[in-house]
């Protein structure tokens, strides 16, 4: 029996209030009847019955004319295994993680082939270094214990000039520079978790193992404005650039064996099951859980709320695994991602409403600061479309999030200065560019990125570029319940209640606007006709 597909619910007078995430809180909101609709994600797909077997099978029967993995392994070779970092999946999944399952299989085969020189690299790109706990969780204790103490488990360092190799320039003049170890290996195995359609493909190596010098060619306002959306690789300049780079890497002789896995949308553990149920189907237990959770969270301190929510481990399950040649693998992966996340949506809407959850790719075990609020709503959820954006051009996005003026000084040091200095001057992504170089090359940020657990100095700029398409497309962005000073600094408008926000939006889109609520997470990708 295949699970229920996604669903677009037209809101009627009898429709119960809809669940909104509100950062580290939850609430129910009523949407105007007769002109609102709610997009519900499809129910979780059936997982693979035996993921380990499926992984083995994929490695033995690769796609795209690639030879089975065992035939690519020989004793005297240099083997490098790269894997996606802590930004995936969200929330972090219950053990065993996909990466552990895959890498254990790869290592088994390598061991059988007698490969001695194996290095595992976390493909951080410009993200923060993972902690020991995060690495142990992603890779499993066995791999960690076997590789970390001897220094064979590394985290990519995009600022270590000696550890980078310049590959060349694409026909568009884009410089390609990636991890030297990866570039000089006889085989580079890249292990993905493809949570959203943006992930994977050539982007894995070309971005995940690249340096600032290379990444800046596609992480910029021009590329982002030409990516409509970056969740749809066929209309994404971000992906075109990565594909050019990936092909150059391949032509330069780097042999990449790509392994991509997909997950179902089983996002929350049993205690929070109500979060992925449709409201009218809530049972007594779900209702009580909602009340307990929302009230409980509302009385807890920030720190306690964060500690509790970030300790949630998602019961994601693997729905597919494919291995082999990058492009063939990615095509199959995309089909599987879409099978889980795609929902057909008829026509655009005037107003898109989103309740932002507590977590995004860049604040695992951390604070969702105002810049991340912007990127989660305008970068991620706005872009979760294929075809046309859910909200029409000149429309309004209404976000629910407390947006406190708060930053994790250890994880996001350059964000703080970006917020205080750059956004105080301009919120136009194109104007922002002029400050980029100084942040990217700053020795203090560089040290915090390399030695600490900080995002690269340039990262807040990328976050802001991520919003470029939405900022260009929208008439206004309204944040409900946010810290007014912080919201204004972002260039958005602040409203106290959803009702007020809808009133304010009418000034932009006219009377009686249509409203679409994206009921996320679990993730949903709107296929807008």
């Amino acid at each position: 029996m295949s699970p229920r597909p996604g669903f677009v619910l037209p809101v009627e007078r009898s429709t119960p209030p809809v669940l909104f995430w509100n950062g580290e809180g939850l609430l129910l909101e009523s949407l105007p009847a007769e002109r609102s609709r709610v997009i519900y994600p499809p129910d979780p797909l059936e997982p693979l019955v035996d993921p380990v077997e499926a992984v083995r099978d994929a490695l033995l029967h690769p796609l795209g004319g690639c030879d089975p993995l065992p035939t690519l392994l020989r004793p005297d070779m240099r083997l490098t295994i790269a894997f996606d970092d802590v930004s995936l999946p969200l929330p972090p999944m219950q053990a065993p993680d996909n990466r552990q399952l895959v890498i254990e299989e790869v290592l088994d085969m390598a061991a059988q082939a007698g490969v001695d020189d194996v290095v595992i690299i976390a493909a951080l790109s410009l993200h923060r270094r993972m902690t020991e706990a995060e690495l142990r969780h992603a890779l499993g204790q066995r791999i960690y214990e076997a590789f970390a103490p001897s220094g064979h488990l590394l985290q990519h360092d995009a600022e270590d000039q000696e550890a980078l190799a310049f590959i060349g320039k694409t026909d568009q003049g884009e410089e390609v520079e990636i991890s030297r170890r990866a570039a000089e290996s006889d085989l580079l195995v890249y292990v993905n978790i493809n949570l959203v359609p943006m992930d994977g493909g050539h982007k894995s190596v070309a971005t995940g193992l690249a340096s600032y010098r290379s990444v800046r060619h596609h992480h910029n306002p021009a590329t982002m404005l030409a990516s409509r959306s970056f969740m749809d690789m066929h209309h994404s300049e971000l992906h075109s650039s990565n594909w050019r780079m990936g092909r150059l890497i391949r032509e330069s002789g780097v042999k990449v064996f790509q392994i991509e896995t997909t997950l179902n949308t089983n996002t929350f553990p049993q205690q929070f099951a109500f979060l992925q149920k449709r409201e009218w189907e809530w049972r007594v237990r779900d209702r009580a859980s909602f009340v307990a959770a929302s009230r409980g969270l509302s009385v807890l301190g920030d720190r306690a709320k964060r500690a509790i929510l970030h300790s949630i481990r998602a019961p994601h399950q693997m729905t597919s695994v494919q291995a082999g040649e990058v492009e063939a693998v990615h095509e199959a992966t995309l089909a599987n991602v879409f099978a889980q996340q795609l929902v057909r949506v008829e026509g655009q809407t005037d107003i898109l409403t989103i309740g932002l959850p507590y977590i995004g790719p860049y604040n695992v075990d951390s604070i969702m600061n105002p810049i991340l609020v912007a990127v989660m709503s305008l970068g991620y959820f706005f872009n979760m479309y294929r075809g046309r954006p859910v909200v029409r051009e000149g429309g309004v996005v209404i976000v629910r999030h407390p947006t406190p003026w708060a930053f994790h000084a250890g994880h996001h040091p350059s964000y703080i200065d970006f917020f205080e200095e750059v956004l105080a001057e301009t919120t136009d992504p194109v104007q922002v560019v002029k400050y980029e170089e100084a942040y990217a090359t700053d020795p203090w940020y560089r040290q915090l990125y390399r030695k600490g657990h900080a995002y690269h100095g340039v990262h807040p700029f990328y976050m802001w570029y991520w919003c470029a398409h939405a900022l260009d497309h929208l008439g206004a962005v309204i944040v409900v319940g946010g810290d007014r000073r912080a919201v204004r600094r972002l260039g958005f408008k602040a409203a106290s209640t959803l009702e007020d926000a809808l009133e304010m939006a009418e000034d932009v889109v006219g009377r009686e606007p249509t409203i679409t609520h994206m009921r996320v997470p679990p993730l949903v990708m709107a296929d807008v006709e």
Binding site: P17, L27, L28, E29, S30, I121, R129, M130, T131, E132, A133, L135, R136, A148, P149, G151, L153, L154, Q155, H156, D157, D160, A163, Q271, V284, R285, R287, A288, S289, V291, A292, A293, R295, G296, S298, V299, G301, D302, R303, A307, I308, S311, I312, I367, A406, H408, A409, G410, H412, P413, I416, D417, E420, P443, W444, Q447, L448, K451, G452, H453
Partner: protein, 935 residues
């Protein structure tokens, strides 16, 4: 100017003392402006670093008193001054006025001497007032006699110089009723019933008074140096400044001692004065000064001019001119600021105020009128009864308004109140201040109330000062402000109360006869008849506007002053002129301290139970450490760093990076870090000075140009065939805190040729006071209460910096082996609790369900978690928690003194003593925070 006055003074040479004072300035100006060819000789005291001439230029001729003359003369002003004014150095508190022979010669050539120098403060120390007020007039007279004897000019046939001594009407003291223009000696001689109509009549042995006053000074100086007193001063200084360092404390204690001596002398003066019938040392010494002058200098013709309370000018040089914050002004301004809720005084009593230009006019008339010849014939013609002095018969003239044109206290109060109701001052928030209504309670009541208030505030301050909490600094500095104001109000009430309660009425018959003697034209010019004053217009149109301007009080509601000041200060600090910027670390750039770092580093390789015990043991030491820190930061650090005895160097250094990035950074103040970077970006040299250990601040090196920190001594310890480097817990040098810090920074600056006056220092604690005092631009960041008080007193720039997000934990510990945190179990249970809502039974009939059915907008207002929580599950959890707690306590008790000595302590720390044992779970290269970024 009247022909007659100008004529009679024409060609005269006039010696003036007290030219730098309020009255003297106006007097000199009037002579220069209105008497064309009079020559002035000014006796001016040399300053410590400035000559008498420079002082005269600065303190007399640059005063706005001369604005009128300057504008009339234009460029010729300086020439006029040079031409007609001669400055001689001297001091009325020294015998012979401290004159050089040439100066004495000049004095001998003078026709008139006007002595207006006085210690006018009612709270002058007794001995100083004795020297100036009591002995001063006699010294002037003596110097004149000496100059004449020296034969500076032939005595015979030429008139003797006329000495005009300015005294005060209040020599009448506590006299009630009419006080005549008569000397004490004459009053005693002329009538047996002097007490009925004149001044204080008490016989005083003046020489004994002088000797006693000088003795009091030396007694008090000796007393102030007694061990008990000295300890008291040190204690007081320590309470104010805490562990600011020996020198700072010593300086402050010495200031307290000097203040104490001064205060005691003032008290001694007042007590002596009151015991004899005068309100304070000022009136007392002035009165005795008159007696000395009259008794000892019968060889000179002397006029004694007794003004009452001199206030701003009625007309000349321009209405409202005033100099210095004088008697009534501080009271008026304090009242307008709403600080004086009450003031002593007799409502129907007379406040005898006289405008300064009237006193000047009277002096001019007295000088012009001149003396009588020895035969008694008055040199000036006219039908007036006024006659000048002859040697041995001084003339006394009151310049007062109370008898002829009285200003009642209640009327004055109403005029002041009405004026400020119409022209209010504004508080910092830009709100008009409402002035209080006084009820004129009985004698001494106001002082009593104020004294109680001051005592109460003092107690509140001490209480707050003993609470070891940051953040009350603001409250404490507000209390200190209040206390300062109350003390000021009290001192005003004590000082001036007797003047508002005075019941003497000063007779002005002689003044009026002098006035009558003037040519009508002169009368029109000089106008010193008290009747010319219209009190209502004088108070509200002349005096109050002048006082308000003078006090630079806030007369507009605009709020921006404070923020403008802030901006200015920030600009000054960030100016490119600054060459060196010094930052403190703990408390200034980060909300953390040495204990925080120690807990992390020492605990990093302990397992969970060991760690709990370790923290418990540390917690038990907390009070001792706190006391130690409070007493002396250096001792505290030295003692605390001993805990690092035996710590493995490699492990500490590695742990410090994790400590910094996983914990300290989160407790840093981003605005502070941004400020460091900003200074550096501007090309200024940035220096971190911290008492923290070098390896702890190692990650900060990239942020600063230089780092000065504490360091520990290393030892090679052999064990298991390999030598390991360990710390022995002893410092390599003096920890860079307190005064040592200031010295190190000074040395650092000197080596680089940087002036400390161009340096900025950011710090948070009173122990940084020596450093902050050493630099030109001190900035107090989140100052502790003592430093906050100092900063607000000195007007230092302050900054408040916050963490990136609230709630980052203090005393965090490193991740446990395997990267786990200490908390997961508790958190997991909390999740269960939250999410399951305690619905173990799930019977569907809970109250929680009911609330869901209500409209959405109404929900979420209650903070309670719903009735579902009260379930079996909670009970189970609670019981489990209690049991766990009991078990932990039992474990601790089993450990006896909470030692962790038997446990594995791979870092060599966290043990109760004895050598540590190697071992543990960590392997080489297994850094707690995950592998390094690698190649």
């Amino acid at each position: 100017m009247s022909k007659r006055i100008a004529e009679s003074l024409s060609g005269k040479r006039i010696f003036i003392t007290g030219g730098t004072g309020f009255l003297g300035t106006a007097l000199v100006e009037r002579f220069l402006r209105t008497v064309p060819d009079v020559e002035l000789v000014l006796l001016v005291r040399s300053g410590q670093r400035t000559s008498a001439a420079v002082r005269a230029e600065r303190e007399i001729f640059r005063n706005d008193c001369y604005d009128r003359l300057r504008s009339e003369l234009g460029g010729a002003f300086d020439a006029l001054v040079a031409d007609r004014v001669q400055v001689v150095a001297g001091d009325v508190s020294r015998d012979g006025l401290g004159l050089e022979p040439e100066a004495l010669e000049i004095l001998g050539s003078c026709d008139i001497a006007i002595h207006s120098a006085a210690a006018v403060a009612f709270d002058s120390p007794l001995d100083g007032a004795i020297e100036v007020n009591l002995l001063g007039p006699g010294r002037v007279a003596g110097a004149i006699t000496k100059a004449l004897e020296a034969g500076a000019r032939p005595q015979s046939g030429i008139e003797l110089p006329h000495l005009i001594a300015v005294s005060t009407a209040y020599v009448a003291g506590t006299h009630q009723g009419r006080a005549e223009e008569i000397l004490w000696a004459d009053a005693i001689r002329e009538t047996k019933a002097a007490r009925t109509h004149t001044t204080v009549t008490t016989e005083v042995d003046i020489d004994a008074e002088i000797a006693a006053a000088r003795r009091v000074r030396s007694d008090l100086e000796a007393q102030s140096r007694s061990p008990v007193r000295l300890q008291g001063f040190s204690k007081e200084a320590r309470r104010e400044l805490g562990s600011a360092g020996m020198h700072v404390i010593a300086e402050r204690a010495e200031r307290f001692r000097q203040d104490w001596v001064k205060r005691s002398l003032v008290d001694a003066g007042r007590a002596r004065a009151q015991s004899l019938g005068w309100p304070d040392g000022y009136a007392f010494t002035k009165a005795l000064g008159e007696r000395v002058l009259a008794a000892d200098h019968t060889d000179l013709p002397i006029s004694i001019v007794r003004p009452s309370i001199i206030e701003s000018a009625l007309e000349e040089p321009y209405p409202g001119w005033i100099r210095g914050f004088r008697m009534a002004e501080p009271i008026i301004i304090s009242y307008a600021r709403g600080l004086l809720r009450e003031f002593p005084g007799i409502a129907e009593g007379v406040i005898d105020v006289v405008p300064v230009d009237m006193v000047v006019s009277a002096l001019l008339a007295v000088a012009a009128h001149g003396t009588r010849d020895a035969d008694g014939s008055d040199r000036s013609a006219g039908g007036s009864t006024y006659s000048g002095p002859v040697p041995g018969h001084p003339v006394v003239i009151h310049v007062a308004t109370g008898s002829r044109n009285p200003l009642r206290y209640s009327r004055l109060f109403e005029m002041v109140r009405d004026w400020f109701s119409e022209h209010p001052l504004y508080d910092e928030q830009g709100q008009p201040i409402q002035v209080p209504q006084w009820s004129f309670p009985g004698h001494g009541e106001v002082q009593g109330q104020l004294r109680r208030y001051v005592t109460w505030l003092g107690a509140a301050d001490r209480l707050l000062g003993s609470v070891p909490v940051r953040g009350v600094g603001d409250l404490r500095s507000r209390i200190l402000d209040r206390r300062g104001l109350a003390m000021r109000a009290l001192s005003y009430a004590e000082l001036y109360g007797s003047y508002t309660e005075t019941e003497a009425v000063f007779d002005v018959s002689r003044l009026m006869s002098l006035y009558e003697s003037l040519d009508p034209e002169d009368r029109r010019q000089l106008r010193f008849d008290p009747l010319v004053i219209d009190w209502a217009s004088y108070v509200s149109e002349v005096h109050l506007p002048s006082v308000v301007t003078h006090a630079r009080a806030k007369t507009t509601p605009e709020r921006s002053r404070a923020s403008r000041r802030r901006d200015r200060a920030t600009r000054a600090v960030l100016s490119p002129e600054r060459k060196l910027v010094v930052f403190d670390w703990e408390g200034t750039l980060i909300a953390s301290n040495v204990i925080d770092a120690y807990v992390w580093l020492a605990g990093q390789s302990l397992d969970a139970p060991e760690r709990m015990r370790f923290i418990a043991r540390l917690a038990m030491q907390a009070p001792r450490l706190w006391l130690l820190d409070k007493r002396d930061r250096g001792d505290f650090l030295r003692a605390f760093y001993r805990s690092y005895d035996g710590a493995r160097v490699a492990e500490m250094q590695r742990g410090s990076w994790e400590l910094f990035h996983q914990h300290l950074l989160e407790r840093s103040y981003p605005a502070g870090i941004a400020r460091v970077r900003k200074h550096r970006e501007m090309g200024q040299r940035t220096l971190l000075v911290t008492g923290a250990l070098d390896f702890v601040v190692e990650p900060l090196r990239v942020l600063f140009d230089d780092v000065i920190s504490a360091g520990l001594q290393l030892e090679d310890v052999a064990g298991n065939g390999a030598t390991v480097q360990r710390y022995n817990g002893r410092l390599t040098g003096i920890p860079p805190i307190g005064e040592a810090r200031a010295l190190l920074v000074a040395e650092y600056a000197r080596e680089r040729g940087i002036e400390l006056s161009e340096a900025v220092a950011y710090a948070d604690s009173v122990s940084d006071l020596p450093l902050l005092e050493a630099v030109g631009y001190p900035v107090v960041v989140n100052g502790d209460q003592r430093l906050a008080a100092v900063a607000s007193k000195r007007g230092w720039h302050t900054e408040t910096w916050k963490m990136g997000a609230p709630g980052a934990p203090w005393l965090a510990t490193a991740p446990l082996a395997g990267g786990r945190r200490l908390r997961p179990e508790a958190v997991r249970r909390a999740i269960d609790l939250l999410a399951a809502g305690g619905l173990a039974g799930s019977d569907g009939s809970t109250g929680a369900l009911g609330s869901l059915r209500r409209p959405a907008a109404k929900r979420g207002t209650s903070g309670r978690a719903g009735s579902g929580i009260r379930s079996e599950r909670v009970r189970r959890l609670y019981t489990a928690a209690v049991q766990r707690g009991l078990k932990a306590v039992a474990t601790l008790e089993a450990g006896g003194t909470l030692r962790v000595g038997r446990s594995r302590t791979p870092s060599g720390l966290g043990r109760g003593g004895g050598p540590s044992q190697p071992g543990g779970q960590g392997r080489a290269g297994d850094t707690p925070g995950g592998p390094e970024r690698g190649r």
